[in-house]
Amino acid sequence: MSDLAPIAPGLFDPGPPPALIGGRDKASGRIVFPCPPDPDRFEPVRLPSEGRIWSWTVQRFPPKSPPYAGPVDPFEPFAIGYVELAGAAIVESRLEGFAFDELAVGLPCRLVLVPFAGRLSFAFAPLTERLEEHGS
Protein backbone atom coordinates (compact mmCIF):
# COMPACT_ATOMS: atom_id res chain seq x y z
CA MET A 1 0.00 0.00 0.00
CA SER A 2 2.78 2.39 0.93
CA ASP A 3 4.20 1.97 -2.59
CA LEU A 4 1.27 3.98 -3.87
CA ALA A 5 1.70 7.70 -4.49
CA PRO A 6 -0.39 9.94 -2.23
CA ILE A 7 -3.47 11.46 -3.86
CA ALA A 8 -1.93 14.87 -3.10
CA PRO A 9 1.38 15.97 -1.56
CA GLY A 10 1.36 17.32 1.99
CA LEU A 11 -2.08 15.95 2.81
CA PHE A 12 -1.06 13.34 5.37
CA ASP A 13 1.96 11.88 7.18
CA PRO A 14 2.06 8.07 6.69
CA GLY A 15 3.20 7.52 10.30
CA PRO A 16 2.77 5.17 12.03
CA PRO A 17 0.32 6.19 13.18
CA PRO A 18 -0.83 8.13 10.13
CA ALA A 19 -2.01 11.72 10.62
CA LEU A 20 -3.60 14.39 8.46
CA ILE A 21 -1.54 17.55 8.07
CA GLY A 22 -3.43 20.70 8.80
CA GLY A 23 -2.31 24.30 8.78
CA ARG A 24 -2.07 26.50 11.88
CA ASP A 25 -2.66 30.20 11.29
CA LYS A 26 0.44 31.75 12.86
CA ALA A 27 -1.47 34.85 13.92
CA SER A 28 -4.71 33.41 15.30
CA GLY A 29 -3.84 29.78 16.09
CA ARG A 30 -6.86 28.65 14.06
CA ILE A 31 -6.31 25.22 12.47
CA VAL A 32 -7.61 24.37 8.99
CA PHE A 33 -7.33 21.32 6.74
CA PRO A 34 -5.65 20.92 4.29
CA CYS A 35 -2.69 23.21 5.03
CA PRO A 36 -3.05 26.22 2.68
CA PRO A 37 -0.06 26.83 0.35
CA ASP A 38 0.85 30.06 2.17
CA PRO A 39 3.93 29.46 4.38
CA ASP A 40 4.00 33.09 5.52
CA ARG A 41 0.64 32.65 7.23
CA PHE A 42 0.24 28.91 7.89
CA GLU A 43 2.60 26.34 9.42
CA PRO A 44 1.96 22.59 8.91
CA VAL A 45 0.69 20.72 11.97
CA ARG A 46 -0.07 17.01 12.53
CA LEU A 47 -3.73 16.56 13.41
CA PRO A 48 -4.94 13.98 15.97
CA SER A 49 -5.35 10.51 14.42
CA GLU A 50 -8.48 9.71 16.40
CA GLY A 51 -11.76 11.57 16.71
CA ARG A 52 -15.53 11.27 16.72
CA ILE A 53 -18.11 11.45 13.94
CA TRP A 54 -19.61 14.97 13.99
CA SER A 55 -22.03 14.37 11.12
CA TRP A 56 -22.46 11.80 8.35
CA THR A 57 -24.33 10.91 5.18
CA VAL A 58 -24.22 8.23 2.51
CA GLN A 59 -23.47 9.11 -1.11
CA ARG A 60 -26.14 7.00 -2.80
CA PHE A 61 -25.67 8.07 -6.43
CA PRO A 62 -22.46 8.13 -8.48
CA PRO A 63 -20.75 11.55 -8.41
CA LYS A 64 -19.98 13.11 -11.79
CA SER A 65 -16.76 11.75 -13.22
CA PRO A 66 -14.61 13.77 -13.62
CA PRO A 67 -13.90 15.07 -11.08
CA TYR A 68 -14.77 11.80 -9.25
CA ALA A 69 -11.94 9.27 -9.72
CA GLY A 70 -13.53 6.28 -7.96
CA PRO A 71 -15.43 3.45 -9.69
CA VAL A 72 -18.83 4.42 -11.11
CA ASP A 73 -19.66 1.31 -13.15
CA PRO A 74 -20.64 -0.46 -11.05
CA PHE A 75 -21.03 2.19 -8.35
CA GLU A 76 -21.10 1.27 -4.69
CA PRO A 77 -22.57 3.88 -2.31
CA PHE A 78 -20.05 5.20 0.22
CA ALA A 79 -20.26 6.98 3.56
CA ILE A 80 -18.79 10.42 4.20
CA GLY A 81 -18.79 12.61 7.24
CA TYR A 82 -17.20 15.28 9.34
CA VAL A 83 -14.91 14.03 12.11
CA GLU A 84 -14.23 16.16 15.18
CA LEU A 85 -10.52 16.05 16.07
CA ALA A 86 -10.30 17.39 19.62
CA GLY A 87 -8.27 20.55 19.99
CA ALA A 88 -7.75 20.91 16.23
CA ALA A 89 -10.64 21.07 13.74
CA ILE A 90 -13.63 19.22 12.28
CA VAL A 91 -12.48 17.57 9.02
CA GLU A 92 -14.48 16.19 6.10
CA SER A 93 -13.60 12.66 5.01
CA ARG A 94 -14.79 9.42 3.54
CA LEU A 95 -15.79 6.90 6.22
CA GLU A 96 -14.64 3.28 5.68
CA GLY A 97 -15.66 0.07 7.41
CA PHE A 98 -18.91 1.31 8.96
CA ALA A 99 -22.21 -0.44 8.21
CA PHE A 100 -24.51 2.32 6.94
CA ASP A 101 -27.19 1.46 9.50
CA GLU A 102 -24.66 1.76 12.33
CA LEU A 103 -23.47 5.27 11.47
CA ALA A 104 -24.19 7.78 14.23
CA VAL A 105 -23.00 11.13 15.48
CA GLY A 106 -20.44 10.63 18.26
CA LEU A 107 -18.97 7.29 17.12
CA PRO A 108 -15.21 7.10 17.75
CA CYS A 109 -13.03 6.64 14.67
CA ARG A 110 -9.41 6.68 13.56
CA LEU A 111 -7.53 7.77 10.48
CA VAL A 112 -6.54 5.06 7.98
CA LEU A 113 -4.71 5.34 4.67
CA VAL A 114 -6.48 3.49 1.88
CA PRO A 115 -5.78 2.71 -1.79
CA PHE A 116 -8.08 4.80 -3.97
CA ALA A 117 -8.07 4.88 -7.77
CA GLY A 118 -4.44 3.72 -7.93
CA ARG A 119 -3.17 6.16 -5.32
CA LEU A 120 -3.11 6.44 -1.53
CA SER A 121 -5.93 8.42 0.10
CA PHE A 122 -7.33 8.78 3.62
CA ALA A 123 -10.50 7.82 5.45
CA PHE A 124 -11.78 7.38 8.98
CA ALA A 125 -12.58 3.83 10.18
CA PRO A 126 -14.26 2.49 13.33
CA LEU A 127 -12.25 2.67 16.52
CA THR A 128 -13.34 -0.22 18.69
CA GLU A 129 -11.45 0.59 21.89
CA ARG A 130 -12.53 3.71 23.76
CA LEU A 131 -10.72 6.95 23.10
CA GLU A 132 -7.74 7.77 25.31
CA GLU A 133 -7.80 4.43 27.08
CA HIS A 134 -4.87 2.23 26.17
CA GLY A 135 -4.26 -1.21 27.68
CA SER A 136 -5.57 -2.21 31.08
Binding site: L11, I31, T57, I80, A89, E92, F116
Partner: protein, 381 residues
Protein backbone atom coordinates in the same frame (compact mmCIF):
# COMPACT_ATOMS: atom_id res chain seq x y z
CA UNK B 1 -34.30 56.66 3.78
CA UNK B 2 -36.78 57.25 0.97
CA UNK B 3 -39.50 54.69 0.34
CA UNK B 4 -39.49 52.23 -2.54
CA UNK B 5 -42.50 50.22 -3.69
CA UNK B 6 -43.05 47.22 -5.94
CA UNK B 7 -45.80 48.29 -8.32
CA UNK B 8 -45.67 45.41 -10.79
CA UNK B 9 -44.76 41.73 -10.71
CA UNK B 10 -44.68 39.18 -13.51
CA UNK B 11 -43.59 35.58 -13.85
CA UNK B 12 -42.82 33.03 -16.54
CA UNK B 13 -43.96 29.66 -15.15
CA UNK B 14 -41.22 27.58 -13.55
CA UNK B 15 -40.42 24.06 -14.73
CA UNK B 16 -38.89 22.77 -17.95
CA UNK B 17 -39.64 24.52 -21.23
CA UNK B 18 -37.92 22.78 -24.11
CA UNK B 19 -37.01 25.12 -26.92
CA UNK B 20 -37.67 28.30 -24.93
CA UNK B 21 -34.39 30.11 -24.16
CA UNK B 22 -33.94 31.51 -20.66
CA UNK B 23 -33.62 35.03 -22.04
CA UNK B 24 -36.98 34.63 -23.80
CA UNK B 25 -38.54 33.60 -20.49
CA UNK B 26 -37.01 36.72 -18.94
CA UNK B 27 -38.63 38.91 -21.60
CA UNK B 28 -42.03 37.30 -20.91
CA UNK B 29 -41.65 37.99 -17.18
CA UNK B 30 -40.46 41.57 -17.75
CA UNK B 31 -43.41 42.35 -20.04
CA UNK B 32 -45.81 40.80 -17.51
CA UNK B 33 -44.36 43.01 -14.76
CA UNK B 34 -44.67 46.15 -16.93
CA UNK B 35 -48.29 45.29 -17.78
CA UNK B 36 -49.05 44.62 -14.10
CA UNK B 37 -47.60 48.04 -13.20
CA UNK B 38 -49.39 49.77 -16.09
CA UNK B 39 -46.18 51.37 -17.36
CA UNK B 40 -44.28 51.08 -20.64
CA UNK B 41 -40.73 49.81 -21.14
CA UNK B 42 -39.87 53.31 -22.36
CA UNK B 43 -40.82 54.65 -18.90
CA UNK B 44 -38.16 52.52 -17.18
CA UNK B 45 -35.14 54.62 -16.15
CA UNK B 46 -32.80 51.87 -14.98
CA UNK B 47 -32.80 48.07 -15.09
CA UNK B 48 -30.93 45.32 -13.21
CA UNK B 49 -31.03 41.67 -14.14
CA UNK B 50 -29.16 38.42 -14.22
CA UNK B 51 -28.97 34.69 -14.67
CA UNK B 52 -26.42 32.12 -13.60
CA UNK B 53 -26.45 30.07 -16.79
CA UNK B 54 -28.82 31.55 -19.38
CA UNK B 55 -27.12 34.60 -20.80
CA UNK B 56 -26.75 38.33 -20.36
CA UNK B 57 -29.82 40.13 -19.05
CA UNK B 58 -29.08 43.36 -20.92
CA UNK B 59 -29.48 41.67 -24.31
CA UNK B 60 -33.22 41.74 -23.56
CA UNK B 61 -33.26 45.29 -24.90
CA UNK B 62 -33.30 43.70 -28.36
CA UNK B 63 -36.84 42.51 -27.66
CA UNK B 64 -38.01 45.04 -25.06
CA UNK B 65 -36.90 48.06 -27.09
CA UNK B 66 -33.77 50.10 -27.74
CA UNK B 67 -34.51 52.98 -25.41
CA UNK B 68 -30.90 53.54 -24.33
CA UNK B 69 -31.80 52.65 -20.73
CA UNK B 70 -28.89 51.77 -18.41
CA UNK B 71 -29.20 48.00 -17.91
CA UNK B 72 -26.79 46.43 -15.40
CA UNK B 73 -26.10 42.70 -15.34
CA UNK B 74 -25.89 41.14 -11.89
CA UNK B 75 -24.12 37.85 -11.18
CA UNK B 76 -24.19 36.76 -7.54
CA UNK B 77 -24.90 33.03 -7.58
CA UNK B 78 -28.07 32.03 -5.77
CA UNK B 79 -28.56 35.64 -4.63
CA UNK B 80 -28.51 37.02 -8.19
CA UNK B 81 -32.19 38.00 -8.10
CA UNK B 82 -32.00 39.35 -4.58
CA UNK B 83 -28.90 41.35 -5.47
CA UNK B 84 -30.62 42.82 -8.55
CA UNK B 85 -33.53 43.89 -6.36
CA UNK B 86 -31.13 45.29 -3.75
CA UNK B 87 -29.35 47.30 -6.47
CA UNK B 88 -32.53 48.68 -8.02
CA UNK B 89 -33.84 49.78 -4.63
CA UNK B 90 -30.50 51.47 -3.90
CA UNK B 91 -30.62 53.31 -7.24
CA UNK B 92 -34.09 54.65 -6.47
CA UNK B 93 -33.13 55.66 -2.93
CA UNK B 94 -30.05 57.41 -4.31
CA UNK B 95 -32.32 59.49 -6.53
CA UNK B 96 -30.91 58.06 -9.76
CA UNK B 97 -34.31 56.88 -10.98
CA UNK B 98 -37.99 56.86 -10.08
CA UNK B 99 -38.90 53.73 -12.01
CA UNK B 100 -36.75 50.59 -12.26
CA UNK B 101 -37.07 47.10 -13.68
CA UNK B 102 -35.61 43.98 -12.04
CA UNK B 103 -35.48 40.67 -13.88
CA UNK B 104 -34.07 37.26 -12.96
CA UNK B 105 -34.17 34.22 -15.22
CA UNK B 106 -32.44 30.90 -15.74
CA UNK B 107 -32.45 27.63 -17.59
CA UNK B 108 -30.67 24.57 -16.22
CA UNK B 109 -30.78 21.19 -17.92
CA UNK B 110 -31.49 18.01 -15.95
CA UNK B 111 -28.48 17.16 -13.78
CA UNK B 112 -26.99 20.65 -14.04
CA UNK B 113 -24.89 22.08 -11.19
CA UNK B 114 -21.53 20.56 -11.97
CA UNK B 115 -19.00 22.36 -9.78
CA UNK B 116 -15.27 22.06 -10.45
CA UNK B 117 -12.90 22.14 -7.44
CA UNK B 118 -10.61 24.79 -8.95
CA UNK B 119 -13.54 27.21 -9.44
CA UNK B 120 -14.10 27.08 -5.68
CA UNK B 121 -10.47 27.41 -4.64
CA UNK B 122 -10.24 23.72 -3.73
CA UNK B 123 -7.55 21.15 -4.55
CA UNK B 124 -8.28 18.47 -7.17
CA UNK B 125 -8.22 15.58 -4.64
CA UNK B 126 -11.39 16.98 -3.01
CA UNK B 127 -13.36 16.21 -6.15
CA UNK B 128 -11.46 13.01 -6.97
CA UNK B 129 -12.43 11.30 -3.68
CA UNK B 130 -16.10 12.22 -4.11
CA UNK B 131 -16.67 15.23 -1.84
CA UNK B 132 -17.56 17.85 -4.52
CA UNK B 133 -21.35 17.51 -4.25
CA UNK B 134 -23.71 20.15 -2.90
CA UNK B 135 -26.29 17.53 -1.85
CA UNK B 136 -23.78 16.11 0.65
CA UNK B 137 -23.44 19.49 2.34
CA UNK B 138 -27.19 19.82 2.85
CA UNK B 139 -27.39 16.29 4.28
CA UNK B 140 -24.38 16.82 6.58
CA UNK B 141 -25.63 20.15 7.95
CA UNK B 142 -29.08 18.66 8.44
CA UNK B 143 -27.92 15.42 10.15
CA UNK B 144 -25.95 17.43 12.70
CA UNK B 145 -28.95 19.71 13.28
CA UNK B 146 -31.41 16.81 13.67
CA UNK B 147 -29.16 15.10 16.23
CA UNK B 148 -28.57 18.32 18.17
CA UNK B 149 -32.16 19.58 18.26
CA UNK B 150 -34.31 16.45 17.98
CA UNK B 151 -35.81 16.84 14.51
CA UNK B 152 -37.36 13.62 13.14
CA UNK B 153 -37.29 12.17 9.64
CA UNK B 154 -41.08 12.35 9.59
CA UNK B 155 -40.86 16.13 9.96
CA UNK B 156 -38.63 16.27 6.86
CA UNK B 157 -41.38 14.39 5.03
CA UNK B 158 -44.09 16.75 6.28
CA UNK B 159 -42.22 19.75 4.85
CA UNK B 160 -42.08 18.12 1.41
CA UNK B 161 -45.72 17.05 1.64
CA UNK B 162 -46.72 20.68 2.35
CA UNK B 163 -44.57 21.92 -0.54
CA UNK B 164 -46.31 19.73 -3.10
CA UNK B 165 -49.75 20.49 -1.63
CA UNK B 166 -49.05 24.23 -1.96
CA UNK B 167 -47.49 23.81 -5.42
CA UNK B 168 -50.74 22.25 -6.61
CA UNK B 169 -52.42 25.60 -5.82
CA UNK B 170 -49.85 27.81 -7.61
CA UNK B 171 -50.23 28.25 -11.40
CA UNK B 172 -46.53 29.15 -11.74
CA UNK B 173 -45.26 26.05 -9.90
CA UNK B 174 -43.60 23.12 -11.67
CA UNK B 175 -44.66 20.18 -9.45
CA UNK B 176 -48.43 20.53 -9.18
CA UNK B 177 -49.39 17.06 -7.96
CA UNK B 178 -49.74 16.49 -4.21
CA UNK B 179 -47.64 13.62 -2.81
CA UNK B 180 -48.52 11.66 0.31
CA UNK B 181 -46.14 11.42 3.25
CA UNK B 182 -45.49 7.69 2.82
CA UNK B 183 -44.43 8.14 -0.82
CA UNK B 184 -42.02 10.92 0.18
CA UNK B 185 -40.50 8.99 3.10
CA UNK B 186 -40.12 5.69 1.20
CA UNK B 187 -38.65 7.21 -1.99
CA UNK B 188 -35.05 6.32 -2.88
CA UNK B 189 -32.44 7.95 -0.65
CA UNK B 190 -30.21 10.58 -2.33
CA UNK B 191 -27.99 11.54 0.61
CA UNK B 192 -29.25 10.18 3.95
CA UNK B 193 -31.56 11.35 5.54
CA UNK B 194 -32.91 13.05 2.39
CA UNK B 195 -34.97 11.16 -0.20
CA UNK B 196 -35.47 12.26 -3.80
CA UNK B 197 -38.70 14.14 -3.03
CA UNK B 198 -36.99 16.13 -0.28
CA UNK B 199 -34.56 17.80 -2.72
CA UNK B 200 -35.37 20.54 -5.22
CA UNK B 201 -34.13 20.18 -8.79
CA UNK B 202 -32.52 22.44 -11.37
CA UNK B 203 -35.26 24.09 -13.44
CA UNK B 204 -36.21 27.05 -15.62
CA UNK B 205 -38.25 30.18 -15.15
CA UNK B 206 -38.15 33.96 -14.86
CA UNK B 207 -39.51 36.79 -12.72
CA UNK B 208 -39.79 40.53 -13.41
CA UNK B 209 -40.54 43.32 -10.94
CA UNK B 210 -41.20 47.04 -11.44
CA UNK B 211 -39.98 49.26 -8.58
CA UNK B 212 -41.02 52.86 -8.04
CA UNK B 213 -40.14 55.75 -5.76
CA UNK B 214 -42.81 57.09 -3.40
CA UNK B 215 -43.08 60.15 -5.66
CA UNK B 216 -43.76 57.94 -8.67
CA UNK B 217 -46.31 55.88 -6.72
CA UNK B 218 -48.27 59.09 -6.03
CA UNK B 219 -47.86 60.36 -9.60
CA UNK B 220 -49.18 57.11 -11.07
CA UNK B 221 -51.93 56.78 -8.45
CA UNK B 222 -50.96 53.16 -7.74
CA UNK B 223 -53.95 51.51 -6.04
CA UNK B 224 -52.05 48.87 -4.04
CA UNK B 225 -48.33 49.59 -3.71
CA UNK B 226 -46.31 46.94 -1.90
CA UNK B 227 -43.61 48.69 0.11
CA UNK B 228 -40.08 47.39 0.23
CA UNK B 229 -39.35 47.64 3.95
CA UNK B 230 -35.93 46.00 3.89
CA UNK B 231 -33.43 44.31 1.59
CA UNK B 232 -30.33 42.85 3.21
CA UNK B 233 -27.55 40.78 1.67
CA UNK B 234 -24.85 39.21 3.86
CA UNK B 235 -21.87 36.90 3.29
CA UNK B 236 -20.61 34.24 5.70
CA UNK B 237 -19.05 35.03 9.09
CA UNK B 238 -16.31 33.02 10.84
CA UNK B 239 -17.52 29.61 12.01
CA UNK B 240 -20.50 29.25 9.65
CA UNK B 241 -21.04 25.86 7.98
CA UNK B 242 -20.95 26.20 4.20
CA UNK B 243 -20.86 24.01 1.14
CA UNK B 244 -17.47 22.61 0.04
CA UNK B 245 -15.65 22.94 3.40
CA UNK B 246 -12.79 20.42 3.83
CA UNK B 247 -12.65 21.51 7.48
CA UNK B 248 -14.75 23.45 9.98
CA UNK B 249 -13.74 25.42 13.06
CA UNK B 250 -14.32 23.66 16.39
CA UNK B 251 -15.86 26.89 17.62
CA UNK B 252 -19.12 27.06 15.68
CA UNK B 253 -20.60 30.38 14.58
CA UNK B 254 -23.85 31.63 13.07
CA UNK B 255 -24.87 31.49 9.41
CA UNK B 256 -25.04 34.38 6.91
CA UNK B 257 -28.82 33.96 7.13
CA UNK B 258 -28.77 35.00 10.80
CA UNK B 259 -26.86 38.17 9.87
CA UNK B 260 -29.11 39.03 6.91
CA UNK B 261 -32.28 38.39 8.91
CA UNK B 262 -31.22 40.58 11.85
CA UNK B 263 -30.20 43.36 9.49
CA UNK B 264 -33.48 43.19 7.56
CA UNK B 265 -35.67 43.23 10.69
CA UNK B 266 -33.70 46.18 12.03
CA UNK B 267 -34.00 48.09 8.75
CA UNK B 268 -37.76 47.41 8.61
CA UNK B 269 -38.33 48.21 12.29
CA UNK B 270 -40.24 44.94 12.51
CA UNK B 271 -39.78 41.60 14.28
CA UNK B 272 -40.50 37.97 13.40
CA UNK B 273 -43.84 38.18 15.25
CA UNK B 274 -45.04 40.81 12.76
CA UNK B 275 -44.65 38.54 9.72
CA UNK B 276 -47.84 37.13 8.13
CA UNK B 277 -46.26 34.88 5.49
CA UNK B 278 -42.70 33.76 4.74
CA UNK B 279 -40.85 32.26 1.79
CA UNK B 280 -37.69 30.53 3.07
CA UNK B 281 -34.94 28.87 1.00
CA UNK B 282 -35.88 25.19 0.79
CA UNK B 283 -33.20 23.63 -1.37
CA UNK B 284 -34.17 20.52 0.56
CA UNK B 285 -36.82 20.04 3.20
CA UNK B 286 -34.35 20.25 6.10
CA UNK B 287 -33.19 23.67 4.88
CA UNK B 288 -36.68 25.08 5.42
CA UNK B 289 -36.65 23.69 8.97
CA UNK B 290 -33.21 25.08 9.84
CA UNK B 291 -34.00 28.42 8.17
CA UNK B 292 -37.12 28.85 10.35
CA UNK B 293 -34.78 29.19 13.32
CA UNK B 294 -31.96 31.02 11.52
CA UNK B 295 -34.45 33.70 10.43
CA UNK B 296 -35.68 34.11 14.01
CA UNK B 297 -39.18 32.65 13.64
CA UNK B 298 -38.73 29.93 16.28
CA UNK B 299 -36.17 28.45 18.65
CA UNK B 300 -33.89 25.65 17.46
CA UNK B 301 -35.83 22.41 17.88
CA UNK B 302 -39.26 24.06 18.13
CA UNK B 303 -39.86 23.21 14.44
CA UNK B 304 -40.79 19.64 15.39
CA UNK B 305 -43.89 20.85 17.26
CA UNK B 306 -44.62 23.73 14.86
CA UNK B 307 -44.77 21.42 11.85
CA UNK B 308 -46.65 18.62 13.65
CA UNK B 309 -49.30 21.23 14.55
CA UNK B 310 -49.49 22.54 10.97
CA UNK B 311 -48.42 26.06 11.91
CA UNK B 312 -46.47 26.50 8.67
CA UNK B 313 -49.33 25.41 6.41
CA UNK B 314 -51.66 27.87 4.69
CA UNK B 315 -54.16 28.70 7.42
CA UNK B 316 -51.54 28.19 10.15
CA UNK B 317 -49.91 30.81 12.35
CA UNK B 318 -47.01 31.41 9.92
CA UNK B 319 -47.55 29.93 6.44
CA UNK B 320 -44.18 29.13 4.84
CA UNK B 321 -43.47 28.62 1.13
CA UNK B 322 -47.04 29.16 0.05
CA UNK B 323 -46.31 28.41 -3.63
CA UNK B 324 -44.45 25.21 -2.81
CA UNK B 325 -41.03 26.86 -2.66
CA UNK B 326 -38.03 25.41 -4.45
CA UNK B 327 -39.28 21.88 -3.80
CA UNK B 328 -42.36 22.41 -6.01
CA UNK B 329 -41.04 25.16 -8.30
CA UNK B 330 -37.50 23.89 -8.91
CA UNK B 331 -34.51 26.17 -8.74
CA UNK B 332 -33.59 28.35 -11.72
CA UNK B 333 -30.80 30.09 -9.81
CA UNK B 334 -31.16 33.62 -11.18
CA UNK B 335 -34.95 33.66 -10.79
CA UNK B 336 -35.49 31.72 -7.58
CA UNK B 337 -35.14 34.55 -5.05
CA UNK B 338 -37.38 36.82 -7.10
CA UNK B 339 -40.04 34.09 -7.29
CA UNK B 340 -40.29 34.36 -3.51
CA UNK B 341 -40.81 38.12 -3.83
CA UNK B 342 -43.38 37.60 -6.63
CA UNK B 343 -45.29 35.19 -4.38
CA UNK B 344 -45.20 37.64 -1.47
CA UNK B 345 -46.51 40.44 -3.69
CA UNK B 346 -49.46 38.21 -4.66
CA UNK B 347 -50.11 37.40 -0.99
CA UNK B 348 -50.07 41.06 0.05
CA UNK B 349 -52.26 42.19 -2.85
CA UNK B 350 -54.74 39.39 -2.14
CA UNK B 351 -54.31 37.86 -5.60
CA UNK B 352 -52.91 34.48 -4.51
CA UNK B 353 -56.15 32.63 -5.25
CA UNK B 354 -56.54 29.21 -3.62
CA UNK B 355 -53.30 29.65 -1.66
CA UNK B 356 -54.18 33.10 -0.26
CA UNK B 357 -53.10 33.79 3.32
CA UNK B 358 -55.99 35.76 4.79
CA UNK B 359 -55.14 39.24 6.00
CA UNK B 360 -51.45 39.11 5.04
CA UNK B 361 -49.81 42.47 5.79
CA UNK B 362 -46.09 41.74 6.18
CA UNK B 363 -44.29 39.23 3.96
CA UNK B 364 -40.74 37.90 4.38
CA UNK B 365 -38.46 36.20 1.86
CA UNK B 366 -35.07 34.57 2.31
CA UNK B 367 -32.64 33.11 -0.20
CA UNK B 368 -29.45 31.26 0.70
CA UNK B 369 -26.73 29.93 -1.54
CA UNK B 370 -23.13 28.95 -2.07
CA UNK B 371 -20.48 29.90 -1.08
CA UNK B 372 -22.31 31.25 1.94
CA UNK B 373 -24.50 34.22 1.26
CA UNK B 374 -28.01 35.16 2.16
CA UNK B 375 -30.52 37.77 1.00
CA UNK B 376 -33.62 38.76 2.96
CA UNK B 377 -36.45 40.99 1.74
CA UNK B 378 -39.35 42.28 3.83
CA UNK B 379 -42.45 43.70 2.15
CA UNK B 380 -45.56 45.29 3.64
CA UNK B 381 -48.78 46.94 2.58
Amino acid sequence: MSDVAIIGAGIHPFGRHDGVPGLRQGVVAARAALADAGVAWSDIEIAFGGSAAAGNADTMVTELGLTGVPFLNVANGCATGGSALFSAAAAIRAGMADLALVVGFDKHPRGAFDPKPADWGLPDWYGEVGLMLTTQFFALKLRRYMETYGISTRTLGLVAEKAFANGALAPHAWRRTPLDLETILSAPMVNDPLTRYMFCQPAEGAVGLVLASARKVRELGVACPVWLRATAVRTRPQGSFEVFSPSLDLERGVSPTVLASRAAFEEAGLGPEDVSVAQLQDTESGAEIMHMAENGFCADGAQEAWIAEGRTRIGGKLPINTDGGCLACGEPIGASGLRQVYENVQQLKGTAGARQVEGARVAYSHVYGAPGLSAVTILSL
